[in-house]
Amino acid sequence: MNVLEINNVTKRFGNLVAVRDVSLTVAKGELCAIIGPNGAGKTTFFNLISGYFPPTSGTIMFDGQDITRLSTHQRVSRGMARTFQITEIFPELTVFENVRIAAEVADGYRLRPWISRAEAGKIHHNVETALKLVALEAKAGRLVGELAHGDQRAAEIAMALALKPHLLLLDEPTAGMGDQETFQITQLVRRLHRNDQYSIVLIEHDMRVVFNLADRICVLDQGRMLAQGTPQQIAANEQVQAAYLGNAA
């Protein structure tokens, strides 16, 4: 069963073709990494999947249903959650409050002007479960804006998890992090994938992280899908080496 099926998706901005005829399938429980040189169209591709803007052509299927024309929040309510390259959180709220908003939306309470004690208890439990998954339960009462970068990213992932997603989209989860924090987040993503069987698509620049985590790697270059395969296949692929070396030279 495939969680995500992307068929021949293209995105144009005026004369610029940011994503050109890209197809991708993600199986349930799979961790797929998207890599590519700067400007390859990775983030645009992510924005197409999560519904930030619609594709110029092509279709996107999620859990077997066509979501190509659905808005962001409709995709989220069907079980797609994403994090951003630059952490997007509610800085003046506590970690607990950040995750609680996600948990309440996930349970369909977002328009409710009241909440019963039993419902609040269930939400509380869901928040704690999400915080435990990212090992942030000890910092639940802290303001998220005051946390270290790695913990902020963990909080953002906890919010995504509280949405009870079928698919996690992580845009450069270790961007701008030192070795210690990169290790912390890599371990977290590995746990979510191996222990909790989340289906994950991630964009990543750090090759150690990619080759450490991914079941499958997709290489984008100049908006095209250059290659797909296991980490071993990608490491041996001459086209990929050329794209990266060409970029570096």
């Binding site: 929040h73 989220v76 997007e88 959180i89 509610f90 800085p91 309440e104 939306v105 002007p113 009241w114």
Partner: protein, 317 residues
């Protein structure tokens, strides 16, 4: 947790005690009850503006429109439809709220300065309608010839027309209802989505919140509260005039909210109190009273960006 929540309860009790006893402590301090009534009504209006500004992060610069419509709704009801105070208040609230809800649908895709500009434009439309439609509204002279009516409870009547104290308690009761509703909403899951939108709109959207719809609901609720305050204002003065819809009035409300502290629930009430008391005191000395209020506003914004209440809260902590 329990220490902070019991402190909160204490503060809340203190606020309500001050409000409940206002007719008794105002007079010895050189004030009068009607001044306290004005503070409550304008404070409620400022809190309604802040419901949107401070808790959803959306700045409306035309909220006086819904305030003024509330005043006209109440006045016209008393003058032409029925001599009933509760009916007048409800009619005013509905007029302000429903007009706001309708125009809100056109507003919710705008953000920031654009939202503020469009709200000013809409507000001025209602200002000119009130100004020009003399046969109904009395035009520039304002709507006269109505008065709040005693409250008839069957067994007894409350004379809110001639007794300033009784009227104050009637307004305080209405204020408590509105403020209670605001506080209730802000502590609910819906209220938390408002705060989420204020904190980070993109994150809110990617948590599955349809941001435009939620802003519209918050805007509409705010307009209903505004209409309610406007209706009470018509009762305070037994008069409604176009100035109540003018954008300069909207500016006053925003000023009260920002001066008092827009991140705090009670801040705008404090801002309104400072504004109204200064106006009352200074306008008897100089016609340029507004320049002094403006100076204070600048000082507050420069030195206490979180407003007067925000400053007090920080220095306490």
């Amino acid at each position: 947790m329990t220490v902070t929540s019991s402190r909160k309860l204490l503060v809340l009790a203190a606020i309500w005690a001050v409000l409940l006893l206002a007719p008794y402590w105002m007079a010895p301090l050189g004030g009068y009850t009607a001044l306290a009534t004005r503070v409550l009504v304008l404070g409620l209006a400022a809190m309604s503006v802040n419901f949107l500004l401070g808790f959803t992060g959306v700045l409306s610069f035309g909220h006086a429109a819904w305030f003024g419509l509330g005043a006209y709704g109440a006045g016209l009801t008393l003058k032409y439809l029925a001599p009933s105070t509760p009916l007048a208040v409800i009619a005013g609230m509905l007029l302000g709220g429903l007009c706001g809800a309708l125009l809100g649908t056109l507003l919710v895709r705008r953000r920031g300065v654009y939202f503020a500009m469009v709200t000013i434009a809409f507000g001025q439309v209602f200002y000119y309608i009130a100004f020009q439609w003399s046969s109904l509204t009395g035009g520039d002279d304002g709507l006269r010839g109505f008065a709040r009516q005693p409250l008839d409870f069957g067994l007894f009547k409350l004379d809110i027309l001639t007794s300033a104290d009784t009227f104050y308690y009637f307004v305080l009761f209405c204020f408590a209802l509105a403020v209670g509703a605001m506080g209730f909403i802000l502590r609910s899951p819906f209220g938390r989505t408002m705060i989420a939108i204020r904190e980070n709109e993109r994150r809110a959207r990617f948590l599955g919140i349809p941001v435009e719809r939620h802003i519209w609901i918050a805007f509409t609720l705010s307009c209903f509260f505004m209409g309610f305050a406007g209706a009470l204002y018509a009762l305070v003065n037994n008069f409604a005039d176009p100035h109540g819809l003018h954008y300069s009035q909207s500016g006053d409300f925003v000023m009260m909210a920002v001066m008092g502290g827009m991140r705090s629930f009670w801040g705008p009430l404090l801002g309104a109190a400072v504004f109204v008391v200064l106006q009352d005191y200074l306008s008897s000395i100089t016609v340029n009273w507004m320049s002094f209020v403006g100076l204070l506003f600048i000082l507050v914004v420069l030195f206490f960006p979180r407003g007067l209440l925000g400053f007090f809260q920080r220095s306490k902590a």
